[in-house]
């Protein structure tokens, strides 16, 4: 029997079965199992011809259909002792189909609703805790305060500028300059203390350069120095020419 099933994607064997039953326009409670089984199997064959992946679920359903079909062929057992009729071999499948159909229809109804509410936008939730701390930290602020703090910042940056200015401006003193100064002093007086050299100014750089000058003079054997103990005053003495 030639059937003309358009190859469409089915969600699963139940979906396919429902489609076949609807197409055949038969009562779901009285499925012509032989006919439907044939159609089902030919659909699976078509899937194979078209190289579609036939998942195992489809094959399981095929086996189930064949089993039901063969059980339908068997003579019906006599009525049971208590008078109830023997269960229809299709019963379980029918129940499953009905259950599935119920949700398939519900999903279509949901889909309609989705169409509307998919087009609605929501704001992202605000981090409300952040909000609160932010608000407290800027409360009690007036425009005046903003102006005052801005002015303070400007003043600070100006005074900073001046500081850095004086630091950049420094005397460049060389060891040679200091040697000349010490030698000159030693001409006028025979000895003086190292610290006397820094009566007017006293910066670290100056002290270091002067100290280097003293060391240089000692090396050249131009001066003698005396120091009673560690960290005591250093006395710089003129060296006798003859020594």
């Amino acid at each position: 029997m030639a059937i003309n099933v358009k190859l469409q994607a089915f969600e699963g064997p139940l979906d396919l079965l429902l489609h076949l039953i609807e197409k055949a326009e038969v009562d779901i409670y009285d499925i012509p199992i032989a006919e439907i089984t044939d159609q089902y199997l030919s659909y699976i064959n078509m899937m194979e011809i078209h190289d579609l992946e036939v998942s195992s679920e489809f094959l399981v359903m095929a086996a189930t259909l064949l089993e039901i079909k063969s059980r339908m062929l068997l003579p019906k057992p006599r009525k049971e002792d208590d008078g109830t009729e023997a269960a229809d071999p299709r019963e379980e499948l029918v129940q499953k189909l009905i259950e599935y159909k119920k949700y398939k229809e519900a999903s279509l109804e949901l889909k309609d609703k989705l169409g509307i509410y998919e087009k609605v936008f929501y704001k992202d939730p605000e981090p409300i805790e952040d909000y609160i701390t932010d608000v407290t930290s800027i409360s009690n602020v007036s425009l005046d305060m903003l102006y005052i703090s801005f002015r303070n910042i400007l003043l600070k940056s100006q005074s900073k500028k001046r500081n850095s200015f004086s630091e950049i401006y420094r005397e460049v003193v060389t060891v040679d300059d200091k040697i000349r100064l010490i030698s000159k002093l030693l001409i006028s007086k025979p000895s003086f203390y190292f610290e006397d050299l820094f009566v007017n100014s006293c910066n670290r750089y100056d002290i270091i350069v002067t100290f280097l000058a003293v060391l240089e003079l000692i090396k050249r054997r131009s001066v003698n120095i005396e120091q009673e103990r560690n960290f005591d005053k250093i006395l710089i003495k003129r060296r006798a020419k003859d020594a």
């Binding site: 969600e11 699963g12 064997p13 139940l14 979906d15 009562d27 779901i28 409670y29 998942s55 679920e57 359903m61 499953k96 009905i98 259950e99 599935y100 159909k101 119920k102 949700y103 398939k104 229809e105 519900a106 999903s107 279509l108 109804e109 949901l110 889909k111 609703k113 989705l114 509307i116 509410y117 998919e118 087009k119 609605v120 936008f121 929501y122 704001k123 992202d124 939730p125 605000e126 409300i128 909000y131």
Partner: protein, 176 residues
């Protein structure tokens, strides 16, 4: 406090929160009872739609939230350029429907109803924030139970799960 004041406070609260605000929380902030609040907010909802305002108030799972109007989708879309709002496949919709109606439900129970494996669909639905794990079933293997999220309710415009469309019982149809 008069009703107008309450209305504007509610509007402010919803604006700041952005997210859904539980009705109970609003009640305790304004210090009024739930019935009164619900009545007032219902009035607000009516006013908003009568005046065709750009935002509307929706109720989701006992919370109120602002959202835009679906009619304005194409304009707002130009502003926000949503990144590929992908629709749900039929398979995912089926899975979602089964979980919505039968929750809490395990994966294998979903598989049984659909007659196919639903693993992929379930993980996609979780990714989209429409379903979530709600616990584990007492039983062999303690399988994961799934249920729908508030996001699901929002996306389908439902106040709560009771608003799901009534399942059509086939037996009734057949009997008619």
């Amino acid at each position: 406090m008069d009703i107008r004041e309450i209305k504007s406070i509610v509007e402010g609260l919803l604006f700041v929160a952005g997210d859904a605000v539980p009705i109970k929380e609003i009640c305790s902030i304004i210090n009024i009872d739930e019935t009164t609040l619900k009545r007032i907010v219902n009035q607000m909802m009516d006013t908003f739609s009568e005046e065709n305002r750009g935002v509307q108030i929706i109720e989701v799972n006992n919370c109120y939230q602002f959202c835009t109007r679906p009619e304005h989708y194409e304009y707002i879309e130009r502003l926000v350029k949503p990144q590929g709002r992908q629709g749900l496949s039929q398979a995912s919709l089926e899975t979602l429907a089964i979980i919505a109606y039968k929750q809490p439900i395990t994966k294998s129970q979903v598989d049984y109803i659909r007659g196919v494996k639903s693993e992929g669909c379930i993980s996609r639905l979780i990714e989209k924030g429409l379903i979530e794990e709600t616990g584990r079933m007492d039983g062999p293997g303690r399988p994961i139970l799934y249920g729908t999220t508030d996001n699901f309710l929002r996306l389908f415009g439902l106040k709560n799960l009771k608003e799901l469309p009534v399942l059509k019982e086939l037996s009734e149809e057949a009997g008619a």
